[in-house]
């Protein structure tokens, strides 16, 4: 067992523990933080596979952005744990069946006969100077340029749709237009008045 294998087992243990705690912990904020830990350990495992671009992108996108927004939402929601747990025993048979099926399917697909070391050997270490980032970029923009751009278009459609679905402009909301604020001239805001220093003696009293 060399150093890298040790690192792999350490990261895997943390990953499995964190994944387990995501579903078992009672506090939703803790669950979200365990999910962060799971992502981070998964990124570590990818690093040991010399996929540093994917690993760092995982940390940047999921840990740095997605989970922050997720935490945001979870922290602001008023989650009633008792109501979430109400139907636990009622749903258990169905959930158990689904998870058993999932486990079965995964054993069939990922079993040692189809995914074992003899069929999918561990990747050969690349020579020094190999850059996963450069290789990935080259493949994405040459061989896979159309699928890549299609994915980009689909994502843009999703963004536009999400904004269109959730944006609502109330009629009576007031907005500031910074462009107009910047363009304001002195004359529009200040009016110089000439006033006598004393009140002229009034005749009305």
């Amino acid at each position: 067992m060399n150093f890298l294998t040790g690192v792999f087992y350490m990261l895997s243990v943390i990953l499995l523990f964190a994944g387990f705690r995501v579903v078992t912990t009672r506090n939703p904020v803790h669950a979200a933080l365990f999910l962060v830990l799971a992502f981070f350990s998964a990124a570590g495992i990818w690093l040991t596979l010399e996929a540093e671009f994917l690993a760092i992108a995982l940390v940047m996108v999921y840990v740095g952005a997605v989970m922050v927004l997720f935490l945001f939402v979870v922290m602001m929601l008023d989650i009633n744990l008792d109501r979430l747990r109400e139907g636990f025993w009622q749903y258990l048979p169905l959930a158990g069946f689904v998870s058993a099926m999932l486990a079965l399917e995964m054993t069939v697909v990922l079993g040692s006969r189809t995914f074992g070391l003899s069929i999918v050997p561990s990747p050969q270490p690349h020579p020094a100077g190999y850059s996963n980032t450069r290789e990935l970029g080259r493949l994405l923009y040459t061989d896979y340029v159309y699928p890549f751009e299609l994915a980009a278009v689909i994502l843009v459609v999703a963004i536009v749709a999400a904004i269109a679905l959730t944006m609502r402009r109330r009629k009576n909301t007031r907005y500031q237009d910074p462009a107009r604020q910047v363009k304001v001239k002195r004359e529009q805001r200040v009016r110089m008045m000439q006033m006598p220093a004393e009140k002229p003696s009034s005749t009305k009293t």
């Binding site: 904020v29 540093e52 671009f53 760092i56 940390v59 940047m60 740095g64 922050v68 945001f72 980032t133």
Partner: protein, 345 residues
């Protein structure tokens, strides 16, 4: 080098670990000293800008003031609010300082002086600094205080927004340098003032600098701790050393952003002009001078600008900076396809 091999024999198989540890200590100790004296510099610079003297009681010209502050904070009790989530409350400062220090692992000070000269250094820095937001958001939540929570939310939204603009500014740098390795990026700017990336990537330089101020929650973007509306923001419940850790992290992040600005846009360790009297000075002094200059800008901003309103911060980040950087990425890409490509190297 005789002595080095002596130590190597002494520690045997543990030598690589020990040697890395020694280098980490050699990086972190000067960094912590720099943080301490940055607080002193800040108080002095802002003091003079406001026609005050600043700290001048402890030691000669107040030079021992940061040490006195550190000792005071060490002595103070760490109060854990009774309604707080104790584990996360203690974890939050750790999660703030850890990324602020870990990011330094790939920062080069000269072509040889770098802890880990990794190929994807720029990506590593972006990934690690994006972790810093967790400390703030967890501190805000775990304190169980509405002010801390509001500060945490504000800060998290702000950091996430400006990170995008920052990332796009870095895309420009890596397009120009053809590399993600920080040493290679500096080497690509070989030469004097006019060869550095601040000139061809000027809009990105500005965006990076300003987004850096916003990322570190410094004035005029310090709504996370806007004392006039939410007391002190996310760290209002912290005291003693736990509070000091947040400050250490903030200043370490400031120095990190200043160093990165110097490395990515201001030519790193290359002298101002590549002629005789200037390039006699060792490169590290040039780098430190540039870092000091950018840090001075940070202090200057704080003394000059009033705090942004929250919606204006969001507008600036999303509607101004991101479009600017996106347009400039296209411009750089287009220029690189023309005979004018030498302009962006």
């Amino acid at each position: 080098m005789m002595e080095l091999s002596y130590w190597q024999h002494l520690f045997g198989w543990a030598w690589p670990g020990v040697w890395t540890l020694v280098r980490i200590v050699a990086l972190v100790v000067p960094l912590m000293l720099a943080v301490a004296y940055l607080t002193y510099a800040e108080r002095k610079v802002i003091g003079y800008m406001q026609v005050r003297i600043g700290p001048n009681r402890v030691g000669f010209k107040g030079l021992l003031q940061p040490i006195a502050d550190a000792v005071k904070l060490l002595m103070k009790e760490i109060i854990i609010p009774s309604g707080s989530n104790k584990f996360l409350f203690v974890l939050a400062p750790v999660l703030t300082i850890a990324p602020a220090l870990a990011a330094w692992a790939v920062v080069p000070f000269s072509p040889q002086m770098v802890l880990a000269n990794v190929d994807a250094g720029l990506l590593y820095i972006m990934a690690i600094t994006s972790m810093g937001v967790y400390g703030v958001i967890i501190a805000g939540w775990a304190s169980n205080s509405k002010y801390a929570f509001l500060g945490g939310l504000r800060s998290a939204a702000q950091i996430v927004s400006y990170e995008i603009a920052m990332g796009f500014a870095l895309v420009g740098v890596l397009m120009a340098a053809h590399s993600l390795n920080l040493v290679d990026i500096v080497n690509a700017q070989h030469g004097g003032l006019l060869n550095w990336y601040w000139l061809p990537l000027f809009p990105m330089f500005l965006v990076y600098l300003i987004a850096g101020v916003a990322e570190t929650n410094r004035a005029p973007f310090d709504v996370a701790e806007g004392e006039s509306e939410i007391v002190a923001g996310f760290h209002v419940e912290y005291s003693g050393m736990a509070f000091a850790i947040f400050f250490l992290a903030e200043y370490a992040n400031m120095i990190l952003v200043a160093t990165l600005t110097s490395i990515l846009f201001l030519g790193g360790w290359y002298p101002l002009f590549d002629i005789a009297p200037f390039n006699w000075i060792p490169g590290i002094f040039w780098l430190l001078a540039k870092v000091a200059f950018v840090l001075f800008l940070f202090l200057w901003f704080r003394a000059t600008f009033p705090r942004y309103r929250y919606d204006q911060i969001m507008r600036l980040g999303w509607k101004v900076f991101i479009p600017i950087t996106l347009v400039w990425v296209v411009v750089v890409g287009a220029v690189m396809q023309t005979p004018l490509a030498f302009l962006v190297h």
